[in-house]
Symmetry: C2
Subunit: 329 residues, 2 copies
Amino acid sequence: GPGATIGGMCATRCSGSLAVRYGTMRDNVINLQAVLPDGDVVKTGSRARKSAAGYDLTRLIIGSEGTLGVITEVTLRLQKLPSHSVVAMCNFQTVKDAADVAIATMHSGIQVSRVELLDEVQIRAINMANGKSLPEVPTLMFEFIGTEAYALEQTLLVQKIAAEHHGSDFVFVEEPNAKEELWKIRKEALWAGFAMKPDHEAMITDVCVPLSRLAECISVSKQLLDASPLTCLVIAHAGDGNFHTIILFDPTQEEERREAERLNHFMVHTALSMEGTCTGEHGVGTGKMKYLEKELGMESLRTMKRIKAALDPNNIMNPGKLIPPHVCI
Amino acid sequence: GPGATIGGMCATRCSGSLAVRYGTMRDNVINLQAVLPDGDVVKTGSRARKSAAGYDLTRLIIGSEGTLGVITEVTLRLQKLPSHSVVAMCNFQTVKDAADVAIATMHSGIQVSRVELLDEVQIRAINMANGKSLPEVPTLMFEFIGTEAYALEQTLLVQKIAAEHHGSDFVFVEEPNAKEELWKIRKEALWAGFAMKPDHEAMITDVCVPLSRLAECISVSKQLLDASPLTCLVIAHAGDGNFHTIILFDPTQEEERREAERLNHFMVHTALSMEGTCTGEHGVGTGKMKYLEKELGMESLRTMKRIKAALDPNNIMNPGKLIPPHVCI
């Protein structure tokens, strides 16, 4: 499946869980030290939280997946832990309703800290793996942060939005152990998926679309997934318009791999037709190279290759990754 | 004085006024269309709010000050207007107290939308220009946003922090006209400064330091500014650790220009010694080129020049700007 290098992964990871309020992890990197192909050690910034001092080499190297150099030091912008937080959960009849609530919440201006969507297959996996008995329906999980009064106020506002979209069983918790217990559902989702089919591999998709198109994109994808013989679990960082499908397939069965690829292709093309991206956070690696021309155009890829050639003329840094081989300078 | 190109300015401007809550303007740019030196028209992203699809050309071009291409289209991430806001103002005996309150507010985890520091000279300029009678002392201005209850809750928390640092005359307003009237003070600050010395020019500094060093940086700078024969006004985007000094000088007097440059140099070097940057938002242009090696190192500048040479081999895009002439590939 699509896979980025460790370098790329490090720098783009964690974007899901804290994405909405604090931005992605890359937004919180203010300086890097990196070793370039010629042995130069570069420092890309200062410790100031904003700067206009020259080209933004920090962001150029983040997400370059090891093709421009090796990151040896990272300076992060720290965030104060919120004084209070609330974790909430709500059930829906359809993924479209759930996605619509995520969109409406973001559009309402509520500063939600996390909003995660899990489809009914994902919930079934969690029930099976962890001996739970959650209703096996599309589910939203939220985190609200701030002062105690504000976190509660936001919770009640979202409860109202959920009710307007056929949401049911809205629950929220404030006690630390209860919050941890609830978030565990989300955190163990991937492993619960694997537990469903122990000998299977997972192809994990990573499309991201403009928030206003998320409900449509998930709905269209879900129709296809439900009709497939493969087991597919949807888990979305809904506040970002980013969603993952965990497509489980038997690696010894060539036709199952082909089916997984067909589903992945379909979702990527659906996302691109909605002006989205083939990868919201996992990166390009080799698996997503084939989609970049459609997403960004040949001029953009040529520009990337010119930068790669200028900084790594001997192509010694993670060769063959990120830039499709047919791109000419 | 230091001046970036229009391209660079556009992309880095507005970072002050909405910096804290929503990030700088550059953080809200999700896609660019740009014409490169060879005539290629590149699209740097999709309309998804996050992406890991290849090198971040969006951020590379933002802040490149027209040296890599001409931006012809910008896609912004929109933000919902807050349902409620409060504008507050508070006086202090010293700029250090004022800066300490800005720092303590940010460190407290309060999601302040704006926090601006004006020194007593800046307030005097505003009184003179606009016929006001504000106390001529270091002053902080805040904006808090959210729900009505939350904006008020934050206001009261900051009022408490201010009181702990000798703050006085804490006032806040919620009525739209009153808020506009109060923000006008900040918005017209630069013009009020010019009005003080109509035939003078202004050299505007733009250092930015780690937030924890802001009070020290402003205090040290202020001692120097107060001892100078020139009129100097301090205005800081304090939540970012970014502060501007408007140094007024008579352009017909060479020694005044030299004095202005001396003050600017001192502040830049003070900021750099605190791991800050010579420019938080205004850019490099030609005036700040001389500081970049100290701030970022020659390896970093060489990398920038390699990128410039790869994308603009004939050096036709804003030549002579941003990268110091002595940098060799």
